[in-house]
Symmetry: C2
């Protein structure tokens, strides 16, 4: 089955925004066993949109477009596709009533330009938009004049705003998909997220032992980020699940504690779960990560059960007053030092009366580095019932990457401490 | 000039990762006046990569590919392009020496598989990789067999990891671009970021008054996100700069204080700048945003001059002990209330001895909502020399969107307070 995404929007090609639609839609489809084969992004430009849709119709069974359904003058997708398929647009009073209701509920005046969103190409199904004004459209192109050898294609037009697109996809598109494109063969996929080894070394360890399963149809893929490598195991057919399970067992045997999560799991999600299960609480004392660790932990629903308090002590005064870091330690070792990291962690744990506290202090840059402690230097400490441990890392990246990598190392320090036999 | 990006990687089509390359490269090119006309993403699959490169070579003057240069078995791009262009690959000892040096400097052992990265197609220029092992490649396809009517195309192959790709693009690709594709006409672009009005209402206000300039060649675009609308003004040709400047003046006259930043500017960046100029300091007391506001502010280089301390007081105890919120207020009004927001802001300001303090308390969900205070309810307070102001907002979104929108509203409250005549 060929599935293609067409994302339109000048802002995507100008690099103003990230294409979050691509990731989200690809992920949703992959989890259902439908793999997107191609994604293309073009501007809100009539000839380009028509060319891209025609091109995709010549190949794909399912085509999903995003954007271009809004009320402004650069929203062209609805009109262009109607013209390409030679389907006249007709005004749909029911759709207008829904849009009017949307504005009325919010006690806002409906701009006159909104009316265009109630125009529907002949034969198209309207996909209700509970979170905005532009309805989606689903069109069965049958016969498909651009791919005469096959029976048909489906064309699904979704609105651009993520909070409109996402519920519409889950509520309206998924049922349509499952009905119109039932899966021929079972599909299984498992992602193991690892930290601590580079991509080449991960492959060196596991590729050989997985060779037999690859011959039997296992798909093996790697995805490397700084300090993280994902191993993706997938298979299709009657033996898919068994193949993927066997492969996972082999990889777990070889990488063990380096695996910090599977599939959608995150380091912070796993930590909140472990802390909840072990009835342990956490406090944070962040300097150079500036609140990112707290942000990541509080992204996890239910974090409030284990995360009591975070202190972003950017100034030395805050480190002293809120965490009890000693003036002597700051004077003798500097704010970026193992001694201060330990005092911060112990101070946060004492102050917030938690079981654990993580502290980080380092130099995020671009300024502030020196010869002895260049930009990227960081000390991480973890205080717990059994005492305090500290690590020094060197993360010589740009400011935001530095913060992310440091937050990852900090969370991983606690993850390893919470493992059944402790340490790594 | 036609510019196309080809991003390869199963992880992109599986939705495992965001395509940050697209945004970054499009942005870099747009800032230089080169507009990407098409971006396509395909899997690491031989027939698809060859088809996509051939397709782009039939249209584009410049083609940039990302990924597929690494050492693992799913890295196919180098080989496939060499075959497509019928250019034999040759082992380049200089490239291998650089890779060996890269490993030696990091005191790591070079995996044997790395050697493949020293294979170079005939006639290709090697782009040095200071931050990784896979060099980039630049190939002048001249004559271009897939577009015989024109003289040539350039094909640039970049490695996948962002911290390798980005410096390589800036250091090696930009000079090549400026030399090989000098700009025919000046290009000007300006983005005005607004908050407080929906996309339709922004267009209703400005489209008419800008009509004349649009007829004269001004390109006008909108990009809407929750609570934010970007207005993009662009033009090409001798009058480009004058047109864009006139348009900006008109938009500023109509939207005024709703504009919070221009171009790359961010709300947090503008705030750090305003606070620095006005020699004012800031503290934060975050509950439902969980450290995100601190994270955003500390993403700004130089934030440490104005941001002294943030308190992520997730538990009621932390609100009482660290911020001095009264037990009576918590009991009578609940943690999510205007009274508690005000006490949090005043407590943080007093405690951290700053000029300003922002406090937020709300219900991020998915749990915790009730009839009187549903998920999405939030109170924001700003304490300053002149007293404390508070706002109630209703942000009924998913947890992460809730946090982002709330952080945006919180930062905007302070932005408006710092404007010359105060208020909004």
């Amino acid at each position: 089955m060929q599935i293609e995404l067409i994302n339109t929007g000048a802002e995507l090609l100008l690099g103003r925004i990230l294409n979050t639609h691509q990731q989200w839609l690809c992920r949703q489809l992959a989890d259902l066993g439908y793999l997107v084969t191609r994604q293309v992004c073009i501007a809100d430009d009539a000839p380009q949109i028509q060319a891209a849709v025609r091109d995709s119709l010549s190949r794909a069974d399912l085509i999903v477009t995003t954007g271009g359904l809004g009320p402004t003058s650069d929203d062209l997708t609805r009109d262009l596709i109607a013209r390409l398929l030679e389907r006249p647009l007709a005004f749909d009073p029911q759709v207008l009533a829904q849009i009017e209701q949307y504005y009325a509920q919010r006690r806002r005046v409906m701009p006159a330009s909104t009316r265009v969103q109630a125009m529907v190409p002949a034969g198209a199904r309207v996909l209700a938009n509970a979170n905005g004004t532009a309805p989606g459209l689903a069109i069965e192109v049958n016969p498909n004049p651009f791919r005469p050898e096959t029976r048909r294609s489906w064309l699904v037009l979704l609105p651009g705003p993520p909070r409109e697109l996402r519920p519409m996809f889950s509520e309206s598109v998924v049922p349509l998909l499952l009905r119109e494109f039932p899966q021929a063969a079972p599909y299984a996929c498992r992602t193991l997220k690892t930290t601590g080894l580079g991509e080449s070394l991960v492959e060196e360890r596991i590729a050989g032992p997985l060779g037999k399963l690859v011959s039997a149809g296992l798909e093996l893929g790697y995805c490397a980020r700084i300090g993280e490598v994902e191993v993706r195991l997938a298979a299709r057919g009657g033996e898919a699940l068994a193949l993927v399970r066997q492969a996972e067992e082999i990889v777990r045997g070889l990488l063990g504690r380096l695996i910090y999560a599977t599939d959608d799991g995150t380091l912070e999600g796993g930590l909140v779960q472990s802390l909840t299960e072990q009835k342990q609480t956490l406090a944070l004392a962040e300097s150079c990560t500036g609140g990112l660790i707290a942000h990541r932990i509080t992204n996890v629903p239910g974090a409030s059960a284990v995360f009591l308090c975070g202190l972003v002590t950017y100034s030395n005064e805050a480190k002293q007053e809120l965490l009890g870091v000693s003036a002597a330690a700051l004077a003798e070792h500097g704010a970026v030092s193992e001694v201060v990291a330990r005092q911060m962690a112990e101070g946060a744990r004492r102050r917030c009366r938690t079981d654990y506290a993580i502290a980080v202090t380092g130099i995020a840059g671009p300024g502030g580095g020196g010869e002895a402690k260049p930009v990227g230097t960081v000390f991480i400490a973890l205080a717990g019932e059994k005492g305090t441990v500290a690590e020094e890392h060197f993360n010589p990246f740009d400011r935001e990457t530095f913060k992310y990598v440091t937050s990852q190392q900090s969370l991983d320090l606690l993850r390893r401490a919470l493992l059944p036999t402790g340490g790594s």
